[in-house]
Amino acid sequence: MPDTSPQPRILLTKSFIDSHDRAIATIALALRDAAMEVVLIDYEQPEDVVNVALQEDVDVIGVSFMSGGQVETTQKIFAELQRREVAGLPVVVGGTIRPFDVPPLEAAGVKAIFRGGAPMADVVESFRSLSRAYRGLA
């Protein structure tokens, strides 16, 4: 039987003060080719991410980092998710994630971390399964 469940809706985002957006643009195209609906924004404040996530009714948030702010931004996104009462919305982080960033990111509740060289198939599958789990389809 064909899968008639709705396509995953993904928010991909990067900071307004970050640069080099090759990775996030590439992932947006890969998710699109995997028939997901993708919203791609540059956020000004971490609160904006949650705002757009709610407006667009997405089921996974992916945040990419190149040049700093990895931990602080992610923690703020989780705090805002809690405040807006959508604490269960999964967050995935990618990019230049250094060893010392990992423990606080995991403590914050990040579901997956992807660094440079991660196979795209794994990235796509991770978004798909997190989306299905969030919608209770898993």
Binding site: F16, I17, D18, S19, Q45, G69, V71, E72, R98, F100
Partner: protein
């Protein structure tokens, strides 16, 4: 050296000989190889059409911009440097200097500063939402006084300062010049560059910038100001590197770089600026990555196309307006997290291709940059890579050593032809700024990036250690961690600065900046924004305060 068909007196080789005899008098540039064979500084022959080949230092500069290059003046090693507070970066500068790095031309010291992302975009450390990035991947600088720490005791007339940043570029140049002014240095003796990446909406992109039209207006303003007041300052770096790093092919990246030059030149012409006054201070930043011979050919093609465009399309006459100065950097996007020591080898090959193509400056990335900011050990190894190429390999003995290679010459011609095709396409689409505004150019780059990624995914493109020769063992490498206290210290310092400054003077200077910006936006008094930025910085205005004014007047990209 000469082949029999070379014309004795009037051909390129004879001209080159006369120039060399003139310029370098009786100095010999003949080297000797391991077997005792004398090696000439450059070799000549026939070109692909059977005519006598162009020589280095001759229009259109395919073979290099100098008649004698590294044999006379080695490339400038400009490793990227910057993290934490100015005082912390200063410690790393002193280390590099002690290790034989930081060498500028003719005995000068040279530093290539990178700023943290808030600074790079023109935001102060206390701007909402930036705290986690302060000092994290570059230096935090927001006031003229910060340069007094960073460059304490340095003779700025003998120090070349390169500043790598995005939308914060105009204000940053203001801070540096104000600091130099306070220390009594004459502006016409100051050398250095600001990358001024505000031209770039499709390479080093993401993040905030001015509106595309506002950006190109500001570039013209800075160029006009510096031509008059800071004549040795390089006001614009067109980064072919960043366009490649965003995923563009070499041909696209060269074409888009030239398209950016065309857009800047057209803006200058529109404002009545004489191109021969400003173009000599534009330069390039080029990436050296995975296609060894293509990297060499693209460099040669870039120099040729640049010379032709500036002479034939814009009527530039000064030779310095036709010569593409190139700062090379090895490819950051090829650095892998997996088996990071492999990156040492990748960087060395990238650097060698840059040297064989005759670049003027060099940044060799550190092997551990995919993991985080480089450690001291990794930075030192990058410098050693450059030193080994320069002083052990003999690669520096002959200019344009690939010249005349059937392969490289054919590739060079091919890239040139394709670049001109893309430029014609961009012209048809209304020029680069229109292509930025429509999103077309960004789409082109992203599509190329995705294509590249798919080649890696499918295995069609090998990345050693990533999709082939993969090892399972987790590898433990030391990763540099910037000072987590930097943010608190930077914010405290900024608060103290705001308390102690003369507020009346600062407010007036910011008002004058707004007035100048409005005039320049409307096409008058070009150069007065940069002049007002220097005045405002000298009146202790911060980078973020100046940026707020510029954003108001010149608009934002988003």
């Amino acid at each position: 050296m000469a082949t029999k068909s070379i014309e004795a007196d009037t051909g390129p080789y004879a001209k080159w000989q006369r120039v060399v005899a003139d310029r370098y008098t009786d100095r010999s540039f003949v080297a000797r190889n391991r077997s005792g064979v004398e090696v000439d500084p450059v070799y000549s022959g026939l070109d692909r059409d059977g005519g006598e080949a162009e020589m280095p230092g001759q229009y259109p500069y395919t073979r290099g911009i100098y008649p004698i290059h590294y044999q006379y003046q080695p490339w400038m090693d400009l490793q990227i440097i910057g993290f934490g507070l100015p005082s912390q970066t200063r410690e790393r500068m002193d280390l590099l200097l002690q290790e034989g790095g930081s060498k500028g031309y003719f005995g000068r010291e040279a530093y290539n500063f990178i700023f943290d992302m808030p600074t790079s975009m023109g935001y102060d450390p206390d701007y909402p939402g930036v705290r986690g990035s302060i000092g994290d991947c570059g230096i935090s600088v927001c006031k003229a006084r910060d340069y007094e720490v960073l460059l304490d005791g340095k003779d700025l007339e003998k120090t070349t300062v390169s500043m790598v940043l995005n939308a914060g570029s105009p204000g940053m140049l203001g801070l540096y010049l104000a600091a130099a002014k306070r220390r009594g240095f004459a502006f016409d003796k100051l050398g250095g560059n600001v990358t001024n990446y505000i031209w770039d909406f499709f390479g080093h992109s993401g993040g905030t910038n001015f509106s595309p039209k506002g950006s190109y207006r500001l570039i013209a303003d800075i160029a006009a100001y510096c031509a008059k007041h800071v004549p040795l300052w390089n006001t614009l770096t067109i980064s072919e590197h960043n366009i490649c790093e965003a995923g563009a092919t070499n041909v696209q990246a060269v074409a888009y770089s030239i398209a950016a030059i065309i857009a800047v030149n057209e803006e200058c012409v529109k404002l009545g600026i004489a191109l021969d006054d400003v173009v000599p201070r534009f330069g390039f930043h080029v990436r050296y990555g995975e296609n060894f011979f293509e990297e060499i050919a693209k460099t040669r093609a870039l120099r040729r196309v640049y010379a032709k465009v500036n002479r034939e399309r814009f009527g530039c006459k000064k030779s310095s307006a036709l010569q593409a100065r190139i700062h090379a950097q090895t490819a950051g996007s090829l650095l892998t997290v997996q088996q990071p020591l492999n990156n040492l080898v990748r960087n060395a090959y990238g650097a060698l291709s840059a040297i064989l193509s005759g670049v003027n400056g060099m940044t060799i990335n550190a092997y551990d940059e995919a993991l985080g900011l480089p450690t001291e050990e990794a930075v030192t190894l990058s410098l050693r890579t450059s030193q080994i190429i320069a002083e052990e390999t003999g690669a520096v003995h002959v200019s344009d050593p690939m010249g005349g290679s059937y392969y490289v010459e054919a590739l060079t011609d091919d890239i040139e032809r394709k670049v001109f095709e893309i430029i014609a396409d961009i012209d048809d689409r209304g020029g680069l700024v229109a292509c930025i505004e429509s999103g077309w150019i960004k789409q082109q780059v992203s599509a190329a990036a995705y294509n590249w990624r798919q080649e890696v995914e499918s295995g069609a493109r090998t990345m050693v250690g990533v999709n082939k020769y993969v090892t399972d063992e987790p590898e433990q490498f030391k990763v540099f961690q910037p000072d987590p206290e930097a943010a608190r210290l930077a914010i405290e310092d900024l608060e103290r600065h705001r308390r102690e400054r003369d507020d009346v003077r600062c407010t007036a200077a910011l008002a004058a900046l707004r007035h100048a910006a409005e005039r320049v936006r409307d096409g008058h008094d070009i150069g007065s924004v940069m002049a007002s930025l220097v005045e405002a910085a000298d009146a202790d205005a911060t980078l973020g305060e100046m940026q707020a004014v510029l954003h108001d007047v010149f608009g934002r990209n988003k």
